[in-house]
């Protein structure tokens, strides 16, 4: 029972709460702020689990880059008060029932699967330093790195193509 022990459960609670908030907000900007908090708490958990490099990446790339990208799009599309009103119209409670049941059943099945596992183990929080991660990444997972590079290149080309204006012009013809 030390500080990090409690810190884990506190972070977990924060992550769950903010994730629920993020998913249910009507204002996109608010939802994204909640998402950032979720990501930060997950980063804390990463750190506690002994993965400081993953924690840093979580903050730098997820919270720092991806969410900012989202924010840019939200600002560009100018989702103001009218969109909030429309969201309340879209988010009728009746729609929640079936997804909620489905999620509940999935939770039971997942939980059952996890609890089935024998040899339940404790995580001691042994730190795996970034150097070790890098060594393994560029030796055993070199092919994966190359493939990820190809994937990112494809995404780059795709995003570039989608962002071009002429698609719009073609629609008008």
């Amino acid at each position: 029972m030390n500080l990090s022990f409690f810190l884990f459960y506190i972070s977990a609670a924060v992550a769950i709460t903010t994730a629920i908030m993020a998913v249910t907000r009507k204002n996109a900007s608010h939802a994204l702020i909640y998402l950032v908090v979720t990501l930060l708490s997950i980063a804390v958990i990463f750190f506690l689990l002994g993965a400081p490099f993953a924690a840093a990446l979580e903050i730098v790339i997820y919270a720092g880059a991806i969410v900012v990208l989202f924010l840019f799009v939200v600002m560009m599309l100018n989702l103001g008060r009218s969109s909030v009103a429309r969201e309340s119209q879209w988010l009728r409670p009746g729609m929640w029932v079936l997804p909620a049941i489905l999620s509940g059943v999935l939770f039971i099945v997942f939980g059952y699967t996890v609890l089935q596992t024998e040899n339940s183990a404790m995580i001691e929080g042994q730190v795996v330093p970034p150097k070790e991660v890098g060594t393994v990444l560029f030796h055993e997972y070199l092919l994966g790195v190359e493939l990820a590079g190809v994937l990112l290149l494809a995404a780059l080309v795709g995003a570039f193509h989608l962002g071009r204006r002429y698609l719009e012009e073609r629609r008008e013809n």
Partner: protein, 624 residues
């Protein structure tokens, strides 16, 4: 012999290049690739032949690699060359090269120039595989390959429906023979346990008795295959129609090489045939019947190429006859000389036809010898060899066959010999008729406006040189090939006894007699030809002979028409087979509709089904 594989590989490479470039190459380059690849193969063959003659071994093999292994059935991909194969390979590449060379001029104004050489190279490759394969399956591969090329090249001018019909006819009729052949291969494999040719021959020599029924059946089935490919009775009807192809094709495929594949097959399987008296008799009989029928038919044709086609049939009949009476070497010798002079005749007739603006009717020609001197001389030389005038190549080979037939110990030797001599006489007759109608007399047509840049113009060296070389071979091929081919099968000794006994004198005299009678019949005015034809008997005979003894009519009535009737009536519509396929159609339609119900276009529906599917998978994992 490590360069052996290159002989078939060269035409194959030519084919692949022409095939993959799809006619985008300039014509000069197509000529170089198409004719050059065969030319190089011919040079290489010469080198191999020189090595073969100067070495002591009786055969060369190339290194082998495995084609397929199915259980105990092991097919290796190995080339085998002995004296027999070498004769065939020399003819294929040598004559093939000359014909390719000639074709670069002949086809120069046609569409699909590249396609033509593409097919021709593929043909040469397949034919080489046929004769060089050390395995009957490899032989069969080449066998079908040449059949395919024959089909493609007969229908080369595919815009004319009749030519397409001729191509299909050739394909289907030879397919009948191929079916016999493949059944023979099955039986052989069952008997011998291998399709290796040499293994099979050893097995036949050591393990089979003279009276073996299964051996006779195998031999007869092999004969069936040979008959189909070599256009012998009763599967000969495709060859005259095959003349629809360009003339170089007729020269190469339907005179010099492919149609002799049947002869090669029987010669290759010699040890099997030697064991079966019945099969040998059948081979001889088939040859003789074809010989007679084709000679008579050639006598009344009006199309110059059809005359040559029937002449080819009859000459191959000679070869079969030779094999049947045990004159193996003489038969192969005749195959070689025939390739020379028949190719020459076809090429010369092709020049005539081209000069006449694709007119093939001899009755519209006449008096051409002044205007077409080079084709005339070529045709004269070829005809002399065909008629077997002394000192031409055809004389040596035909004489060897006739003498051997006379001396054979068959019960029917005298009968066989008599028929063969009559056929030789007929050969002289129709040859003289063809020459007279084409080159002598008065022009019977106004179409003699000769093209200026025509093929036999001395400046067109590429058509003159093949003529010259083939003419030299037609005359000198007899002496040159004699020593080499006379001892192919260890049955030497026929020509050694060539001296003045009455039989030899008779065989010597028959061609002359034919020429003289032919002259009086067709060229001089001593006999009124009209009166010969204009009685009932004459009309009937000429009609009967002209139609190829009615074989086409018989097949049409017996096979084609009933088949068409069955295919076109309502009898076999909506039957059980259709039901089965309709069921497949119905099921495919049903599943399509069910699946398309899931494709709603709503993204959230997709997400929902994905989560549901995830749930199902996990439930399955947990509870199973």
């Amino acid at each position: 012999m490590h360069l052996l594989w290159a002989i078939p590989a060269l035409p194959l490479a030519g084919f692949l290049i022409l095939f993959l470039t799809e006619g985008r190459l300039p014509r000069a380059m197509v000529s170089n690739i198409g004719a050059g690849s065969v030319g190089l193969a011919a040079l290489l063959t010469g080198y191999v032949a020189w090595q073969f003659i100067s070495s002591d071994s009786t055969s060369f093999t190339s290194s082998s690699w495995t084609w397929m292994i199915v259980g105990e059935f092991n097919v290796s991909f190995r080339l085998w060359v002995d004296a027999l194969s070498l004769v065939m390979v020399s003819v294929i590449t040598g004559v093939g090269f000359l014909i390719h060379w000639y074709a670069t001029g002949y086809m120069s104004e046609e569409e699909g120039y590249s396609r033509f050489f593409c097919y021709m190279n593929l043909f040469v490759f397949a034919m080489l595989i046929l004769v060089m394969g050390d395995n009957l399956l490899l032989l069969f591969l080449g066998w079908e390959g040449v059949g395919l090329c024959s089909y493609l090249l007969i229908g080369f001018f595919h815009k004319v429906p009749e030519f397409g019909y001729a191509a299909r006819k050739a394909f289907v009729v030879t397919r009948v023979g191929d079916t016999f052949l493949i059944i023979a291969l099955f039986l052989l494999f069952r008997e011998v346990g291998s399709l290796e040719i040499q293994e099979g021959l050893v097995y036949a020599r050591e393990n089979m008795s003279d009276a073996s029924t299964i051996n006779t059946i195998i031999c007869l089935l092999l004969l069936g295959g040979a008959v189909g490919k070599s256009a012998q009775v009763p599967l000969q009807t495709w060859l005259p129609d095959a003349m629809a192809g360009p003339t170089p094709v007729s020269a190469l495929i339907h005179a010099a090489t492919m149609v002799t594949a049947g002869v090669y097959l029987i010669a290759r399987m010699q040890d099997f045939f030697m064991l079966s008296q019945t099969a040998m008799l059948c081979v001889a009989a088939v040859g003789l019947i074809t010989l007679l029928i084709a000679s008579f038919t050639a006598l009344v044709q009006s199309d110059i190429k059809r005359v040559l086609a029937f002449s080819t049939m009859s000459q191959i009949g000679y070869m079969f006859f030779a094999l049947g009476v045990g004159a193996w070497s003489a038969g192969l010798f005749h195959l070689m000389t025939h390739a020379f002079f028949k190719a020459l005749l076809f090429l010369a007739s092709g020049s005539v036809i081209l000069a006449m603006h694709h007119e093939q009717n001899m009755f519209k020609m006449g008096g051409l010898w002044k205007k077409l001197p080079i084709p005339f001389i070529a045709m004269l030389v070829g005809s002399a060899a065909l008629v077997a005038l002394p000192l031409t190549s055809g004389f040596f080979s035909k004489d060897a066959i006739l003498l051997k037939a006379w001396k054979s110990d068959s019960d029917f030797a005298t009968l066989f010999w008599t028929v063969a001599v009559i056929a030789a006489f007929l050969t002289s007759l129709y040859t003289v008729r063809m020459m007279v109608l084409t080159f002598f007399g008065k022009p019977r047509s106004e179409m003699h406006e000769l093209k200026k840049e025509s093929l036999w113009h001395p400046s067109r060296i590429r058509t003159v040189v093949p003529f010259g070389l083939l003419a030299v071979l037609s005359i000198a091929g007899g002496w040159m090939g004699f020593e080499f081919t006379s001892d192919l099968f260890g049955d030497k000794g026929v020509h050694a006894e060539f001296h003045f006994d009455p039989i030899a004198l008779l065989t010597l005299g028959v061609p002359f007699a034919g020429v003289v009678v032919g002259y009086f019949l067709f060229a001089s005015d001593l006999i009124d030809r009209r009166r010969l034809i204009k009685n009932k008997m004459g009309e009937l005979l000429s009609k009967f002979w002209g139609s190829g003894w009615g074989f086409d009519w018989v097949y049409d009535t017996l096979i084609v028409k009933p088949f068409r009737f069955i295919a076109q009536t309502r009898l076999n519509r909506n039957d059980v087979v259709d039901l089965f396929f309709n069921l497949i159609k119905f099921l495919a339609n049903l599943f399509h509709h069910i699946l398309s119900m899931f494709q709603t276009g709503h993204v959230r529906w997709y997400a929902f089904t994905m989560v549901g599917g995830l749930l199902l998978v996990f439930l399955a994992v947990v509870w199973i």
